[in-house]
Every structure is written in C-alpha cells, then in structure tokens.
C-alpha cells in the first residue's frame, strides 16, 4: 500500500517533466525533421526528398554563413572566457562576501532588460552620433564622428556582453571549490604565477570552463537580434538565414533543414571541443 502511494506520487511528479519534454522539445523536433524532408514540387504539392539538405552543401553562401557564424561564436566564447576568467577569479577568491555578491549581481545587469532593449542600448553607445563617438571627439582622440557600429567588432561586443554571466557563473563555482592551499603549495614549490595558472588553476577549472564555453557558444550561435542589429551590411548569421526561410520566404522546408543542420553541426563542434579538452559531457555536468 505504502509502496504504491510512493509510486503514484513519483509518477505525478514526473508527469509534468515528461510532458514538458515530449510536448515542447521532442515533438516539435520530430515535426521539424519531417517538414525538412519535404520538397516543394508545385503550388501546395510536396514530395519526400533530401534536396533541402543538399541545398545547404551545394550553395557556398549557406555553408560560408554557417562557418562564419561558428567561427564568430567560437571567438565570442574565447573572448568571453578571457574577460570572464579574471572577473570570476576576483569574485571567487579575492572579493569574498559583499563585494563578491555585488559583482555577481553586476553580471546579471544585462538581463534586467529585454534583449532588444539591450541591443538598442549598444546601438546608442556605438553609433556614429552615439556616446562613444562623442566621447572620443571630446577627448580629442578623433577629429570627426566615428562609426563603431555595423561591424563584426560590434557583434562581438554584443555577444560577449550578453554571454558574460553564463561564463562567469560556472567559473565562479569551480574556482570557489579550488583549495587555496593548492595554489600556495605550487607557489611555495617555486612556481611562477603563470605556471600556477597553467598547471593548477586552469586544470582545476576545466569543467567550469568547458560548461561555460558550451553555453556561451550555443547562445552566440543561436543569437538572432545582436548580429542583425549590430552587424554590418555583409554580416550574415545562420539564425538569420533560418528566420528568412521561415518568415520571409515561406520556405518552412528549407528553414527546418537549416534548423536541423544547425543543431547537428553545433553538436558536432561541441563534441569536438569536448574531445579536444579531454572532457566528457557527463564530467562537465556533474562537476559544475
């Protein structure tokens, strides 16, 4: 009797999760996959085929856009790490207590406003008639208005800004778990600061780095607004292609295929990254 009650309550607890997984994650993907295998033959008529996937590989434009998106995302991930690591170190090891919490909250600031507002904020700062341009002129560093917007660097700024939290949180968690005496021991044995970083701190923080990097990479890859609004006139982003296929071209079939390719290729990149860093996904999930 008792056991049966436990069983029922467990099922009751699991039901929302299972429903959520099936209805919101699995079913849409299955549906999307089915759509991606349709080819438009004529008005309102479709046949089964792989041409939507072939298009991706045959048209260098799509290929290049994906490559560009992936490379920029990797770059954004690296930059986020380079900036986020000292911040995380400061929060975890130096500014304990109040200041640490305050800094942590500061990483949350980007999320107090919607992505659109955030992006518009950057546009106001970076545009030719914007704050930074005026500041540069005021300081005498520039003769005339400077356009800082509409280029890849602006995209990078936007991506890094949005992603910072997702890098800093796992890093702080792993760095907090680093026993200070390990660092001191290494230092005591004659290691330079660089050697301590390379041999002790980075290996210890690896699970945090990897999980932070995965999240930031996927977020950047899947970002839509930042590259569109901050990017230059040649700046294509893969999610933009997907949006165009779905919304402006009414080509759901092609859009679904692109969506699936994005999923598959980005998973492949993450997998390759894990292999390169000698990390397994389970390790990463368990340790952070």
């Amino acid at each position: 009797m008792r056991r049966r009650e436990v069983g029922i309550s467990l099922y009751l607890l699991m039901t929302p999760l299972v429903l959520w997984l099936t209805l919101l994650i699995i079913l849409p993907h299955v549906a999307m996959f089915v759509v991606s295998l349709r080819e438009r033959v004529g008005v309102g008529t479709y046949a089964f085929g792989l041409s939507n996937y072939l298009t991706f590989f045959q048209e260098p434009l799509y290929w290049n856009t994906f490559l560009r998106t992936a490379i920029m995302s990797v770059l954004a991930t690296v930059l986020t790490f380079l900036i986020g690591f000292p911040v995380a170190w400061y929060i975890a090891k130096i500014a304990r207590g109040r200041l640490g919490q305050a800094l942590f909250l500061a990483c949350l600031i980007p999320f107090w406003v919607s992505e659109l507002v955030r992006t518009y904020g950057w546009m106001i700062l970076l545009r030719e008639s914007g704050v930074f341009s005026s500041l540069l002129q005021f300081l005498g560093l520039a003769d005339g208005p400077v356009e800082l917007l509409y280029n890849d660097a602006a995209i990078m700024v936007g991506l890094v800004y949005t992603s910072m939290l997702f890098m800093v949180v796992p890093l702080v968690t792993t760095l907090e778990s680093l026993d200070d005496s390990l660092v001191e021991a290494a230092y005591d044995m004659g290691a330079s600061s660089w050697a301590v970083l390379r041999e002790i701190i980075l290996p210890h923080a690896k699970p945090g780095i990897v999980s932070g990097a995965i999240v930031v990479f996927m977020l950047s890859l899947g970002n839509y607004l930042t590259p569109i609004l901050l990017g230059g006139k040649s700046s294509l982003w893969f999610t933009g292609l997907i949006y165009d296929q779905f919304i402006t071209r009414f080509n759901w079939e092609q859009g679904s295929a692109f969506g699936f390719l994005l999923l598959a290729l980005s998973s492949a990149i993450v997998w390759a990254g894990l292999r390169l860093s000698g990390q397994s996904l389970r390790d990463t999930m368990a340790r952070t």
């Binding site: 026993d179 005496s181 390990l182 001191e184 021991a185 290494a186 230092y187 005591d188 044995m189 004659g190 290691a191 330079s192 050697a195 041999e199 002790i200 290996p203 210890h204």
Partner: protein
C-alpha cells in the same frame, strides 16, 4: 647535509646559499637555519602573533605547540612567505627574508591538508617543484623515484592521488617537499587529518624521515604528544606569544608558566592564596580549603598572592589507607580520599580520588597515576586511599588573570 652537486638548480636558490656562505664568518656552524626576531602580525586590532623570537638549529626538529587559534599557522605562513610580518625580522640561513616571495625562499611547506594536486599523478606531484626549476626530465625522474623510495613508496609514480591511503598521501606530500632539498621544511599539523592509529605510526615515521634526510623541520601542532615524541625542541605558544621554548623534558618537568604546566602533560591544578613563605618554599590554602606545600616555579611569591599549583599524577604516591601503612608519611603533603573511578589504560592507568579534607563544596578530585607494581590491580571504587606528594612536585605560579577555574588535571 647535501653535496653541492645535488643542490637544486633554482638560480635564486643557488645564489642565496652562496651569499649566505660568504656573509657568515668562518665558523659558520653556529648560523641557525631559522631565526625569528620579535615577529609580530596584527590583523586589524588583533595581534595573532605577538613579538615571537626564536632560533632553530640546523638539522633539528623544532615544534610549535599551542591550542587552536593561538597563531601557529600565521607564524608558519610568515616563515613560508605567504604573509608579511607587521614588524620583526625573519632570517633563513642568516639571510633576511623581508620581501622575498614564497617561490624564492629556500623553504618547503607541507600543508595542513597536504594540498596534493588532484589533477596530477604522484610522479608529477613530486616532480612539480623540479619542473619549475627546469631540471632535465631524466634527472627529475631519477630524483622523484629516489624521494619516493626514501619515504617508503617506491614505484608509485603513475598512481592517482585519490587512490592513495591517508598515510601514503602523507608520505607523498613529504616526498614532494623533500625532493627540493629545502633548507627548512615547514609542516602545518600534517597528521591532523589522519586517524589515531595512523597518527601514532606516522609520528615515529616522521621522526625517522627527518633524521634520514637530515633536514631542519619546523612542525606545528596542537597535539602535545606529537610535539613531545618527535621534537628536539618545542615552543609552547599561547595567544600569539611563546610561553616557553625548550626540550620536551624541560617543558614537562620545569614548565616556566602556569599555561605550560597546564597544557603540557596532565596535572592536578589547585588555585589558592599563599599563606606563608620560606624562600622558594610556600604554604598555600586552596579555595576549597586544602593546605598545600609547594615551591615557587619562578620568582618568589609573597604571602597573600593568588597562585596556581600543579601536581603531576605520577608525582603522587598512594597507599591503601586501611592498611594503616606509613608509606606516605614522609612527604610534605598528605590527603585521604576514596576511589571515585579507576581509569584503566595499561601502563597509563589512573585513579580518580575524591579528597575528604575538601570542604563544603562536596570535595575535589585528584588524578593519580597507579604504580605499575601489580599491587593495585584490584583497586576498586569506594576504597580509601592515602595520598602524599613532595613539596618539590607541587609547582606554584602566580595565578593568571584569565586562568580557568579550579579543576582536576588538564
């Protein structure tokens, strides 16, 4: 100690030694490995280490013993270079260490929780310091193997740290520090994390290792038995100050302060007031009405001074009162009591005796060592015993303002 050819190749390290050789006079035998002069460290308002001075002779095993929070780790961290003293000087091998960072000091440290690197195997852990010095690979391998052999763990280079037992980790940590051939090895309660049995074993091991390597050890602990068993010299630390520095025997038989007397070894403690004096000898009345003859441990004590008197359990002689024997008659102090409890512990067996002379407060207990003659093997609760101890065995100290209230033993 070590032949010059085996010196670590760390450039700074080499020149340090050379400089120290040149600086000292020809009779350099007397240069201490470590010298602290009036070292003080203040955190905010709090004096964690307060005017500590001492020297450590080459090749000796020096312990710093003190209760938790007394400033031991702080002192050690200053010696290692992780903290700068607020004032005072630290010199290693005669060289002033002010402003020298930890990675340029000729000391190695074994941390309280060992701080072995979990991301490396045993071999890489032990070889870490040598790699930092840029020692050639083959030589690293050789010296690592050698160090591991000397701590009794040959051939475990490829094992992971998690796979080791507590005692093995302990020894790996020591090998890791010793492979650098430091002038000075600092150990911060390295046995603290081990279970009792292993701790007992490692005490002996550690002493042997120290003798084997011939390196100077500065060892901190709050466990007096560790300090007593291993050390050539022990400093007793309390509230940031050194109370006494001396051989274990000095501390035990001639404690310089009430704190040392209470902290090192067991003792029965009486608190009272001096009634009469006779040079060093005094007669005191304790707060619970006992009259005790004792000797002043340091300066003479005037009548009326509040004192703490310590009597070691093994300094008390006992006899069965019923036997009416006179075995205790010759001593200066007498007492009659009943056995409250027998604490049997082989050679260290004790008996708790409740004294009859004790006044209104229901009597106090005394902790007495049972002579190992077999005569008292059948001692049982309720038996009456007559106790006696010499005046010289009762050491009197001026009472500490913040001393603990009266109780038996430490």
């Amino acid at each position: 100690m070590t032949p010059a050819g085996a010196l670590p190749l760390r450039p700074g390290h080499m020149s340090e030694r050379l400089v120290s050789r040149e600086e000292v006079p020809v009779s350099n035998v007397s240069v201490p490995d470590l010298e602290c002069r009036e070292v003080t460290r203040i955190f905010g308002e709090f004096r964690a280490v307060d005017g500590v001075s001492f020297t450590v002779e080459p090749g000796s095993f020096f312990s710093i013993l003190g209760p938790s929070g007394c400033g031991k780790t702080t002192l050690l961290r200053m010696i290692a270079g992780f903290l700068e003293p607020t004032s005072g000087k630290i010199a290693i091998k005669g060289r002033d260490m002010t402003g020298v960072p930890p990675n340029r000091r000729p000391v190695s440290m074994v941390f309280q929780h060992l701080a072995l690197f979990p991301m490396m195997d045993v071999g890489r852990n032990v070889g870490f310091g040598l790699r930092q010095q840029g020692v050639p690979r083959a030589e690293i391998d050789r010296r690592v193997a050698d160090a591991l052999a000397r701590v009794g763990l040959p051939g475990i280079e490829r094992r992971r740290i998690e796979e080791l037992s507590g005692g093995q980790r302990q020894r790996v940590a020591i090998a890791r520090a010793m492979v650098l051939e430091p002038d000075l090895l600092l150990l911060d309660e390295p046995l603290g994390a081990l279970d009792l049995k292993l701790r007992e074993h490692m005490k002996v091991e550690l002493k042997k290792l120290q003798e084997g390597f011939g390196t100077t050890f500065v060892y901190i602990t709050h466990d007096q038995s560790e300090a007593m068993v291993m050390s050539d010299k022990v400093a007793v630390m309390n509230n940031g100050r050194f109370e006494q520095v001396g051989r274990p025997q000095d501390l035990y038989y001639r404690p310089a302060t009430a704190f040392v007397a209470g902290f090192v070894g067991d003792a029965n403690r009486f608190v009272g007031k001096v009634v009469t004096t006779d040079g060093k000898g005094i007669v005191a009345r304790t707060d619970d009405g006992l009259e005790v003859r004792a000797v002043a441990a340091a300066d003479a004590l005037a009548p009326g001074t509040r004192v703490e008197i310590f009597v070691r359990p093994e300094a008390v002689r006992m006899a069965r009162a019923a036997a009416g024997s006179d075995a205790t008659a010759a001593e200066a102090n007498h007492a009659i009591g009943t056995v409250q409890d027998v604490l049997f512990n082989g050679a260290n067996s004790r008996v708790l005796v409740r004294l009859e002379q004790a006044g209104q407060r229901g009597g106090r207990e005394m902790d007495v060592a049972i002579p190992q003659t077999g005569e008292y093997a059948d001692l049982s609760r309720g038996e009456r015993l007559s106790l006696a101890w010499a005046a010289e065995a009762a050491r009197a100290y001026p009472a500490r303002a913040d001393g603990p209230s009266e109780e038996a033993g430490a």
